[in-house]
């Protein structure tokens, strides 16, 4: 339990709260009990001055009469009066003799009272002494018993207050930490189930949209993503297995023939080698696509002027187009630059041109254009081939997809996948449009300089 964050937080909360409450109640004590003590002293002070005035006005007899009067009027009051002469012999008052305790600088002294005729219990008293003209000593004070008792009562009550508060705070903290711990445990429990293999599990949310719900929603989003990627991987592995079995089988057949053939056929061996090379090329392309998708190459991005990429690619493929009697037209309408990888961009454009040349009939026309598009740029490659039907637009960007009509043409179905991967890395989009006849493939970059 001590290691639990929620428990420790609760404990800290209790301590802080407890300290605050103690301070508050201490203040209350000081305000009340302390005040009461101050008031008592003030009363005594006032009384003694009043009596001193009386003495001045009415001399000794008047004073004695005042004192007796006061005692008579309140026989059970806790006020103490004592008037003595210069030799401390009693003249008037309800105290039998002058206390032996010394007075402090202001004339205050504390002493013990013994009740006359009482239970013999001893009370503390506090009194002020005053010297009157004629060397008479006047003492006015209070039996502090009641006061002290009241103060003790207040103190005790407040102490209980602190204790009860601490207990309640602790209980509240424990409850709150339990509820938090429970919500965390739901997340942990779901995670454990997922780790044991059930990827379809999701963390339950309470619909309160608080921080825990947000955490749960985000984790669920991550799990969705992971599941999607895993499905993708499974899909691709199935595709790879399926699509590479054919050339691999063909290779095996050739090699088997070579093994059995008495006359070693160089031609056959070279064909087998070509098959192996083709498969290696496919694997290499797959690896490239995977690494591009992993996004690691973003770190090496530089400023790439798209014009040079387009022109260089066009120049490279123009020879091929010419050989097939096709005409390639280059149109540069803008000169944007983007942050990217020059080789990858070149590869993407090259693949698009390659496709365009492949699918355009001899004598046809090809166009490649570089334009500005909104805040970015676009590279468009147009051909006059069979085009791609609308419903296949998304599919052709996947790995190994070859449309029925083109199964006979050379290619491994990865060209557009690579274009898609490069586009994604550069925050660009791949769009298909009908050119009737033909297809227009656009690489649209969202921000270009």
């Amino acid at each position: 339990m001590w290691r639990s964050v929620t428990f420790r937080l609760a404990l800290i909360y209790v301590l802080v709260f407890g300290a605050s409450v103690t301070l508050l109640l201490g203040f209350i004590y000081w305000s009340t009990a302390g005040y009461m003590e101050q008031q008592t002293e003030a009363t005594i002070e006032a009384e003694i001055r009043g009596l001193a005035e009386r003495y001045r006005l009415t001399s000794l007899d008047g004073l004695v009469r005042s004192i007796d009067d006061r005692i008579e009027r309140n026989p059970f009051s806790s006020t103490i009066y004592l008037l003595t002469n210069s030799r401390y012999a009693r003249v008037a008052g309800n105290l039998d003799r002058w206390p032996t305790a010394p007075a402090d600088a202001d004339g205050w002294l504390e002493f013990t009272l013994e009740q006359v005729g009482g239970s013999g219990e001893r009370h503390q008293a506090r009194a002020r002494s005053f010297v009157l003209a004629g060397d008479f000593h006047l003492l006015v004070g209070r039996d502090m018993f009641e006061l002290r008792a009241t103060q003790a009562l207040i103190a005790r009550t407040l102490a209980w207050g602190v204790a009860i508060t601490a207990m309640l705070a602790f209980a509240g903290a424990v409850m709150m930490s339990r509820s938090t711990a429970k919500r965390l445990e739901t997340i942990n429990a779901t995670s454990r189930r997922i780790m044991r293999g059930d990827l379809s599990q999701r963390i339950p949310t309470r619909g309160t949209h608080d921080e825990f719900d947000q955490l749960a929603a985000n984790l669920n989003g991550m799990l969705d993503q992971i599941q999607q990627l895993m499905d993708g991987v499974r899909h691709v592995s199935d595709n790879i297995a399926h699509d590479l079995k054919t050339p691999l089988t063909r290779l095996r057949n050739r090699l088997e023939q070579l093994a059995h053939d008495r006359h070693a056929d160089r031609e056959e061996a070279e064909l087998a080698l070509a098959d192996a090379d083709a498969m290696l090329a496919t694997f290499n392309a797959l690896l490239r696509i995977a690494r591009i998708e992993a996004g690691a190459r973003r770190e090496a991005f530089t400023t790439v002027p798209l014009r040079s990429v387009v022109e260089d690619a066009a120049e490279l493929y123009e020879a091929l187009a010419e050989e097939r009697g096709q005409s390639l037209h280059v149109s540069i309408e803008a000169e944007p630059s983007i942050q990217g990888d020059r080789d990858l961009l070149f590869q993407a454009v090259a693949n698009l041109l390659d496709n365009a040349i492949k699918y355009t009939p001899p004598g046809g026309r090809l166009d490649i254009a570089l334009t500005r598009a909104q805040s970015g740029a676009a590279i468009r490659v147009a051909d006059c081939g069979p085009g791609i039907p609308d419903k296949e637009h998304a599919r052709v960007l996947e790995r190994f997809v070859r449309l029925e009509d083109s199964r006979s043409t050379p290619g491994n179905g990865l060209g557009l996948s690579l274009v898609a991967a490069v586009a994604k890395l550069h925050n660009a989009e791949v769009r298909f449009e009908e050119a009737s006849p033909g297809l227009v493939v656009s690489l649209v970059f969202s921000d270009a300089a």
Binding site: A285, R288, R291, R297, D341, K358, P410
Partner: protein
């Protein structure tokens, strides 16, 4: 076969197939190493082999080889650190780095460490052989040239003109660069990848044999009207500019 490399070059070297190189191969995969060693020995070279990093470094430091083929992933000491040690000790032996890693960054890293060329596995033996030749050739020819000669073909690098047997051949800029590359590697096999890197300055995989078309266009201008063809196709490898086929 004689190919004059450049005017003013020190003693024009007779480059024929029996020119031996002393090659060091540092590769831990036994099959690959044996395959490479066998192929290179059959081509007439002397081959030393090492199967791990420490032995490889030792041999490289002692050996005075003409060229070294070093794999990146080696036990005990990795390939790049061997190259760095070699360069650090002042040895200028040309190094071709083999790697299963293929990104441009890895290539740049390899060349930065002191390597001279970088080849990604799997590769065709012909590719390796062509690049090794190119490396040793580069090592020899130090003098900068203004005119390139191959047989009856003459290229003036300053005037940007090409003549064969005295006749002017009009070439487009890219064709000129292509021919220049072939001439600088005269007598050697030049692979399509080498051409893409050297002439077009891009590192990528073409889906079709787009290079072949450029070569045939060049052939039409350089070889067609002449008796002896100079541009030859080497099956399974690439091209070669030379008087013999």
């Amino acid at each position: 076969m004689q190919t004059g490399l450049a005017r003013g070059a020190p003693a024009s070297r007779a480059w024929d197939d029996s020119t031996r190189m002393k090659i060091l191969i540092i590769e831990d995969d036994v099959d690959t190493r044996r395959f490479l060693a066998k192929g290179l020995r059959e081509a007439g070279h002397v081959v030393d082999e090492a199967g791990d990093g420490e032995d490889g470094l030792h041999q490289a430091m002692e050996g005075s080889h003409d060229v070294a083929v070093i794999d990146r992933m080696l036990p005990q000491r990795d390939g790049l650190s061997i190259v760095r040690e070699l360069r650090g000790s002042g040895r200028a032996t040309p190094v071709l780095i083999l790697s299963a890693l293929g990104d441009v960054d890895d290539r740049v890293e390899g060349l930065h460490a002191g390597g001279d060329d970088y080849l990604v596995k799997p590769f065709a033996f012909a590719e390796l052989s062509a690049r090794l030749d190119a490396l040793t050739r580069r090592h020899d020819a130090e003098a900068p040239a203004t005119v390139l000669h191959v047989d009856s073909l003459e290229m003036d690098l300053l005037k940007r003109t090409v003549h064969r047997s005295g006749r002017l051949i009009r070439l487009q800029p890219r064709e000129f660069k292509l021919l220049e590359f072939l001439m600088r590697h005269a007598g050697q096999v030049v692979t399509r990848t080498m051409l893409l890197e050297g002439v077009w300055d891009y590192h990528f995989d073409p889906q079709t044999n787009v290079i072949d078309v450029h070569i045939s266009r060049l052939r039409a201008k350089v070889d067609k009207d002449f008796e002896v063809p100079l541009i030859h196709t080497v099956r399974g490898a690439g091209y070669r500019l030379s008087t013999d086929s």
